[in-house]
Symmetry: C2
Subunit: 229 residues, 2 copies
Amino acid sequence: MLKGYNPENKVFLAVDCIIFGFDDEDLKVLLIQRDFEPEKGKWSLMGGFLKQSETLDEAAARILHDLTGVHDVYLEQLYTFSQVDRDPVERTISTSYYAIINIESHNEELIENYNAKWFSLSKVPDLIFDHNAMLDKAIKRLRRRTSINPIGFELLPEKFTMRQLQKLYEAILDKALDKRNFINKINSLDILVKLNEKDMTSSTKGSFLYMFDQEKYDEKKAHNFYLKL
Amino acid sequence: MLKGYNPENKVFLAVDCIIFGFDDEDLKVLLIQRDFEPEKGKWSLMGGFLKQSETLDEAAARILHDLTGVHDVYLEQLYTFSQVDRDPVERTISTSYYAIINIESHNEELIENYNAKWFSLSKVPDLIFDHNAMLDKAIKRLRRRTSINPIGFELLPEKFTMRQLQKLYEAILDKALDKRNFINKINSLDILVKLNEKDMTSSTKGSFLYMFDQEKYDEKKAHNFYLKL
DNA sequence: TCAAAAGTGTTTATAATACACCCATGG
DNA sequence: CCATGGGTGTATTATAAACACTTTTGA
């Protein structure tokens, strides 16, 4: 046997997915109620085990899809949790991933799954194992991330108003932003297209809709543009 | 058997440590030459397997100590690598950690281990497995990290000159910095103590030595102070 | 007519950058 | 006496922050 490749050292490696969504008001996280032991009935992140033939990235995408029907989202690795007793059944290490998705555009998929539900961050229940700690870490990362590279367009519908975008950032950063400064900063990034179209549902006056310019965004992202809010 | 806890899913979980050091000129990384298979004779990061009774943090500290004698350093988790064929022997996932240490203050420990050696970043050889990718990721993280929170005092002797500190930042960031601007910024952080003592080895005039004020540093770190260089 | 959201610029404060010369001394 | 690194300050520019009023129209 080669040094260290001792079967006694083998462990279960799980993957847990933290899925954020936004509904024009609150930042939410997707949880499922477990219908199996251990901790049956409790809420948890979407989790599963890594298989021999897949990478962690692939496992995260598979697990998310299997449990919620959601697919084609960009999942980013967050952290690997390894407390010895984190899983009461067997020694299990867990690598967590997080993603942010547009609630509306994935709702159909979710409706079919009765165990998955969105929770506002302020109303997240006690989760199994160390999942609350995972969620906390994901929130922190999302906040830091947001002020480095403008993340967040993934959370909105294709066409959105400045108000929606601002509310999104306020929800992520958990603080109020000045409307004029916000608009000026976003505009200075030059990654939005203003449409000749108004959203009339939000006010009597109606507000212009914007779209996100993927090409310009990709171009700028390559040089890591900062966005201090 | 409980859902998913299928022994077939078990994997080896390795830990690899990227140790950065600084010698007044270059940023270096500590590597060891393997004296066992696979890839015997090739250079690699300090690596080993996670054991059942320890966390990844503990495994990283143990492995670093076992292979180099170095102890009591702050190791931070970097990323978990999971390419299916990254290890030719067995399916092995690896969680990487990185640390920055003061070369001088750990040299005794290292001298006793003939297989460990410092390499300038520009002269790192081909490493085993995906260790070059790990190193690349660690360098990127270190650079980003450095411009958020002043890291780097760990890399210097207890007493150091402004020149040394500037050289260190230049080595980490891989770019030249303006002397006056650098000193002004560092001073404005108010975390250094200027000593009544000069280092005479570096020049005929001699340059004042500084120490790092741990108390002030901890105080400020709590509020995440930024340092843009 | 009024409530509710949309839209719009300027001023001020702070932070980042660019820049050049004299000093001290060991060899 | 000169080469080498040490030490120092100011002006300019760029970015962030604070701040208030007018517009529109459906209910």
